[in-house]
């Protein structure tokens, strides 16, 4: 229960490890503070419990010399804060900022209570004859960056992949980009993470990450003529 990093589901994306790294950094920093502050707290409670004949020391903590005892720790907190943000900024930029070029773009449209997953087909363009839509199934090749175009038809939903460490709300009226590159073939759940009505609980899709050959096979099955 205490090693929190072991609770994260298996990471299968290229950037997931970096997100986990930030979570781990924060975890160890806060764990240290947890033991330091609670340790001091408990020690004080034990040492300075009331004993007959001993009077509390009159310390107001208004002089800098006394205040230094807590101002220095506060300064360390400040430095650690900046460190966490400094380490976090590039990770955020990598996941949500500029997206890498991708061969495959897939449009995911959420609606109460399904994901409509639209492939542009062999011509790579949306709005043409060979587009194909799948409900609640997202098929991608392993080891290739994939672009997602996220939309919603009614209310706000959120595409969540615990294994990819990807989460992005889908807002009606907006077209929101996202991307990922999966590192391991398999079948993973894609739940909706934003309350979207009575069907919210149980609203999910499946992500199929295929090996290159398998993916080619799947494409052949879906678009047999090309």
């Amino acid at each position: 229960m205490l090693n929190w990093m072991r609770w994260l589901p298996e990471n299968v994306s290229t950037y997931g490890g970096e997100i986990d790294g930030i979570i781990a950094l924060i975890y160890y920093v806060t764990l240290a503070w947890f033991f330091l502050t609670l340790g001091a707290f408990v020690l004080f409670l034990i040492f300075y419990r009331r004993r007959p004949g001993r009077r509390a020391t009159y310390v107001q903590g208004d002089r800098l010399r006394e205040l230094a005892w807590i101002l220095v720790p506060v300064l360390i907190v400040l430095i650690l804060d900046f460190w966490i943000d400094l380490r976090g900024a590039p990770v955020w930029a990598k996941v949500k900022g500029q997206m890498p070029p991708a061969e495959l773009t897939i449009q995911v449209t959420a609606k109460q209570f399904n994901w409509e997953i639209l492939y542009p087909g062999p011509d790579g363009k949306f709005g043409t004859e060979d587009d194909r839509q799948f409900d609640n199934e997202l098929h991608v090749p392993v080891g290739k960056p994939v672009r997602l175009v996220l939309k919603s038809k009614d209310v706000i939903h959120s595409l969540f992949s615990p294994n990819l460490r990807l989460k992005q709300d889908m807002v009606p009226g907006r077209t929101i980009p996202a991307w990922f590159e999966a590192t391991k073939p398999g079948k993973y759940e894609l739940p909706c993470a934003e309350l979207c009505g009575f069907g919210h609980s149980g609203m999910k899709a499946w992500l199929y990450v295929h090996s290159p050959e398998e993916y080619q096979k799947w494409v052949k099955e879906q678009w047999p003529t090309s």
């Binding site: 997100i19 009077r55 709300d169 069907g199």
Partner: protein, 570 residues
């Protein structure tokens, strides 16, 4: 100057002929109004707690009927989540921490005979009662109560077809509007009273810290609620006459609501937190018999935290679809808030250093708050870091985090204040053993209920889902939901000693002396309970700050704010 206004009038003529209705129901006495807020808050705590119990049962054993309630469908679950959150934040935390303690303590601690505007104060509590009634009625109308989350995000909240809830949602907005009006009236009163009615000698830097915290909380509320009211009016218009403020198809933007809501929402959590911090700051020195450490710096930190709380709101929206370039600036301001709060927590701990600590019941609750709030404060860093939040947001990790902060404030902070001032409020002493049993049971089962939620959150469990077993990746972790639910039931049962204690004390408890804890502040110079207008003919005069414990100037280990010291004895 200070003796102006309705409050002074005539100290003697007043009490005798005030009958039952004027004393208990339509009272303008700040102490009775405080108690009315307290009673309403406790009533809603029972409702909110029972809703939580039904939710927890559903989460642990989703396919079974809840005893005494029946099957919980997903629609019902959404109502439960929404109403539990709404009730706990707006109808439990605010009325108890701000309404009850603010009303009871502000005049008594600054030496005023009543609030500056006693009738407005009465109107405040009655408008709050009306808000309560509206919220209660919303459970029983066709379509049921609101179910779009306590955050009420449109478009879900904006059209009945999305949730099946129609009137419930309108009444939800109305109840909020009324409760905001109530707290606006209260807030105006708090600020005016504290500025205008302080007794001679009570300078701003001699005010007890709880007063500072209450005033800061009130100010945050007054400054942040405006945009939300504007937002709520637009939501109501979208719902009733079909405007498109939040509807993309008509050129509106759903994210507008989120900005307005959280511009209010983040200060709002400090509206709850700060009074609790204040209660704890005032209890700690009394039982450590030592001045609070760094009094002025705590005030500056509080104001700094209050100021920062206005520029962090988008940390609730990292993955909302807003421009991703906004995330890091908001991440930085958010994590910076840990600085003033770290100062306050360290100051609390430093107050214990070299103290002479007595572990009476109020002190146990105050110490419980410190310990639990450290956990909640630290887990906040995970949520505040934008990249970590991509994974953490909307999971049970967040649920664990905000219960460690909110539950700690309301329950640990609230009970610290309640056990401490109960003798003053009701003139009776509570049983110490029962109080201690209540504390230890609550501490243990609070942690059994909420600590494992961090773990299941890290495992990916989303919040606001009615049935975790619908997800294969959550099935292996289901035992955690069972542990949390059993813990939750025991947590609710742990409140039985409290009820017994209060009832027993009110019926047959020992009469409380004026100053049972040996405390310095002015309320302890009034009788227990204080009469209407609080003091007899003369008001106390203040000579020093509120925390002169174990001062070298006197032989006792306390030195009340109103005691004159003829000459220096040494």
């Amino acid at each position: 100057m200070r003796e102006s206004g309705a409050a002074v009038l005539d100290v003697h003529a007043h009490h005798a002929e005030r009958g039952f209705w004027r004393t208990y129901v339509f009272s303008t006495d700040h102490k009775m109004i405080g108690k009315q807020y307290l009673s309403l808050g406790l009533f809603w705590a029972v409702v909110g707690g029972l809703l939580a119990h039904v939710m927890r049962w559903q989460l642990a054993w989703p396919e079974t009927a809840v005893p005494g309630w029946g099957e919980v469908g997903p629609e019902t679950y959404n109502v439960l989540v929404t109403m539990h959150g709404t009730i706990m934040v707006f109808f439990v935390a605010m009325p108890i921490l701000l309404g009850a303690f603010g009303n009871f303590l502000i005049p008594l601690m600054i030496g005023a005979r009543d609030m500056a505007f006693p009738r407005l104060n009465m109107l405040s509590v009655w408008v709050f009662a009306l808000a309560s009634l509206v919220l209660l009625v919303s459970f029983f109308i066709p379509g049921g109560a609101a179910s779009a989350g306590w955050t009420g995000y449109p478009p879900l909240s904006a059209k009945a077809e999305y949730t099946g809830v129609n009137w419930g949602m309108d009444l939800w907005i109305l109840a909020h509007a009324l409760e905001f009006a109530a707290f606006l009236m209260g807030g105006v009163n708090y600020l005016t009273t504290a500025i205008a009615l302080r007794v001679p000698g009570m300078t701003f830097f001699r005010l007890p810290l709880v007063i500072w915290q209450l005033l800061t909380a009130t100010t945050l509320f007054l400054l942040s609620v405006g945009p939300l009211i504007a937002g709520a009016v637009m939501l109501l218009l979208d719902r009733i006459i079909g405007t498109h403020f939040y509807a993309a198809e008509g050129g509106g933007d759903p994210l507008l609501w989120q900005h307005l809501f959280w511009f209010f929402g983040h200060p709002e959590v400090y509206v709850i937190l700060l009074p609790a911090v204040g209660l704890v700051l005032d209890v700690l020195p009394v039982f450590a018999r030592k001045p609070i450490f760094g009094y002025r710096w705590i005030i500056y930190s509080t104001i700094a935290a209050g100021g920062l709380s206005f520029i962090v709101w988008a940390h609730h929206m990292f993955v909302s679809g807003m421009d991703p370039r906004l995330a890091m600036p908001f991440s930085i301001t958010t994590i910076l808030i840990s600085v003033p709060f770290a100062f306050i927590m360290f100051a609390m701990i430093a107050t214990l250093w070299k103290g002479s600590i007595r572990f009476d019941t109020p002190m146990l609750w105050a110490l419980g708050f410190v310990a639990m709030f450290i956990v909640g404060g630290l887990t906040g860093i995970f949520n505040g870091s934008a990249p970590a939040d991509i994974y953490i947001s909307d999971t049970y990790f967040v649920v664990a985090h905000f219960h460690y902060t909110l539950f700690s404030s309301v329950v640990f902070g609230g009970f610290a204040g309640f056990y401490f001032w109960f003798p003053k409020m009701f003139g009776r002493l509570l049983s110490e053993p029962l109080g201690k049993i209540h504390f230890w049971l609550t501490l243990v089962f609070f942690n059994v209920t909420f600590f494992p939620l961090h773990n299941i959150g890290l495992a990916g469990m989303m919040r606001r889902i009615a049935n975790p077993l619908e997800y294969e990746f959550l099935v292996p972790h289901q035992w955690i939901n069972v542990v949390a639910t059993v813990g939750g039931m025991l947590l609710l049962a742990s409140q039985i000693p409290f009820v017994v204690n209060v009832v027993w004390s009110l019926l047959a408890g020992k009469t409380a002396p004026k100053n049972p804890w040996g405390a310095n502040t002015l309320e302890w110079t009034a009788p227990s309970p204080p009469p209407h207008l609080n003091w007899g003919e003369t008001l106390p005069v203040v000579y020093r700050g509120a925390y002169e414990y174990s001062s070298p100037e006197v032989a006792e280990d306390w030195l009340p704010q109103d005691r004159t010291l003829a000459a220096r004895s040494r």
